[in-house]
């Protein structure tokens, strides 16, 4: 990476803390973020499955949507139905392309109070999401990403260790959202994450973030980077934008039909998505386990009886299972239990279709 590139990258409020821990920093979605710390990706992965880790996910966007018509706007723009939840809850939802129904971004919405929503896009999509929400009378839309850090504390011991930092933050329910005060700073916690383990995500004002991070580490939580975040989310079969979701990929193809509420009224992208639903998807995301330690990788071809029928979207070695795992688009007639293969640079690697996730909560 040249200096020129690194200067253009955004840095988290925790940047200094990561460097002092000896993190390997890499570009990700326009930010420079930790790939791993001294112990490495596998150790961080295993710590999340058996103990507790903290990820800096400040590169996620926070777009604050406020006003008397905010609820109505989000109902029209996103696929999921906010009337299924209430203030103080979080919801996973999609922003679709109005023309082809493909997923422009996958988003978590934190419903803070009746007229205040924190919409959290992927790093590189924050402007796109802000653009889709702006321009409605009675709704204020503001990108507040710069103002805070987000620390995800995940793992079976996450809540136990966080309890010594803040008791309330440690007890927030799954997919619940609550405000809390820490050392005089107004913070927000949500029972959400991206690892397949229990845990929480905390939004901390930028100027307090470093002290909060240090307090969390002092409580026995180990730092973990993007490398472990990726292997963890893959074992949990959670989609990553740019791989399992993105332009050209609809929620139905990705097996995420539950994110789409057909009966809430019209929303952006509903018509083309409904047309796809009626004619049937041409491909579907499936979970594959492969033989041996060799990792399948994104963009490798999936074979059925020697013929190319699909493509791997994400693949890696599963630290918990000890063999390769992959998510892949395959024809809709491929079923759980089917035998396929992945073309790993000319060598066919035996693969079997399984029901996701690959690894269940510890």
């Amino acid at each position: 990476m040249s200096d020129e590139t690194s200067h253009a990258l955004r840095r988290s409020p925790l940047d200094r803390a990561h460097r002092s821990l000896g993190a390997k920093m890499v570009p990700f979605g326009g930010w420079e973020m930790p790939l791993s710390y001294a112990e490495g990706t596998l150790a961080e992965h295993n710590e999340c499955r058996h103990g507790a880790v903290a990820f800096d996910v400040s590169h996620l966007g926070t777009v604050r949507v406020e006003g008397s018509r905010a609820f109505e706007l989000l109902q029209q723009v996103f696929t999921n139905d906010l009337s299924r939840i209430e203030p103080g809850r979080a919801q996973y939802t999609h922003l679709l392309d109005p023309d082809d129904g493909s997923v422009l971004d996958d988003i978590i919405v934190w419903w803070r109070s009746p007229e205040v929503f924190d919409v959290m896009p992927n790093a590189s999509n924050t402007e796109r999401v802000t653009g889709a929400l702006e321009g409605t009378a009675g709704v204020r839309v503001e990108d507040v990403t710069e103002s805070r850090a987000i620390v995800a504390i995940q793992g079976p011991d996450a809540r136990g260790r966080l309890a010594s930092v803040h008791a309330v933050a440690a007890t927030v329910g799954r997919f619940c959202v609550a405000g809390f005060e820490w050392n005089g700073a107004e913070c927000v916690v949500a029972g959400t994450g991206y690892t397949g383990e229990d845990g929480v995500e905390c939004a901390i004002p930028a100027e307090h973030a470093e002290r909060f991070w240090e307090a969390v580490l002092e409580a026995g939580v180990k730092p973990a980077g993007l490398g472990a975040r990726d292997t963890l989310r893959l074992e949990a079969a959670l989609p990553l934008h740019g791989h399992e979701l993105g332009p050209g990929i609809t929620p139905l193809q990705a097996g995420l039909g539950w994110v789409v509420s057909w009966d809430k009224g019209d929303f952006r992208g509903r018509a083309p998505l409904l047309a796809e639903k009626e004619r049937g998807v041409r491909r579907r995301l499936r979970a594959l386990v492969t033989e041996g330690r060799r990792p399948p990788r994104a963009d490798q071809a999936v074979l059925r009886n020697g013929e190319v029928v699909g493509i791997v979207t994400s693949g890696n070695f599963s630290p918990v299972l000890g063999h390769g795992i992959a998510l892949a688009f395959v024809p809709p007639d491929v079923e759980v239990g089917d035998e396929l293969a992945v073309d790993v640079r000319g060598t066919p690697l035996s693969a079997r279709v399984v029901k996701p996730p690959f690894v269940t909560k510890h």
Binding site: T41, L42, T231, P319
Partner: protein, 126 residues
Amino acid sequence: MNVPDDLRYSPDHEWARLVDGVVRVGITDYAQDALGDVVYVEVPEVGATVAARDKISEVESTKSVSDIYAPVSGTIMAVNTELADHPELLNEDPYGEGWICDISPSDPSEVDALLDPDGYRALIEE
């Protein structure tokens, strides 16, 4: 980064150690650090003939795959079978237990043409 004084190095980050007419080959500390946690190593076949800079192995980490090249021409005499179950040896002991293969060189002078430790240090400090 550890760059032992008794080894020779390729510009592709392999090391070569000539002992009793056989060249032992592995990847450098710099290479294993750049790769991150190694999860799979494909070793060459014993008896195969290779030319210098032929691809002889693939090393896969949690983040990427890297090709390993023969630093010298010759015949593969032995491979490190421990790597099948313990690819992490490349990270833990790249110059020792994490060796990849032994090559019987067809032209031992090729070893002298590799980078010396100072040359390799200069390369990775660029």
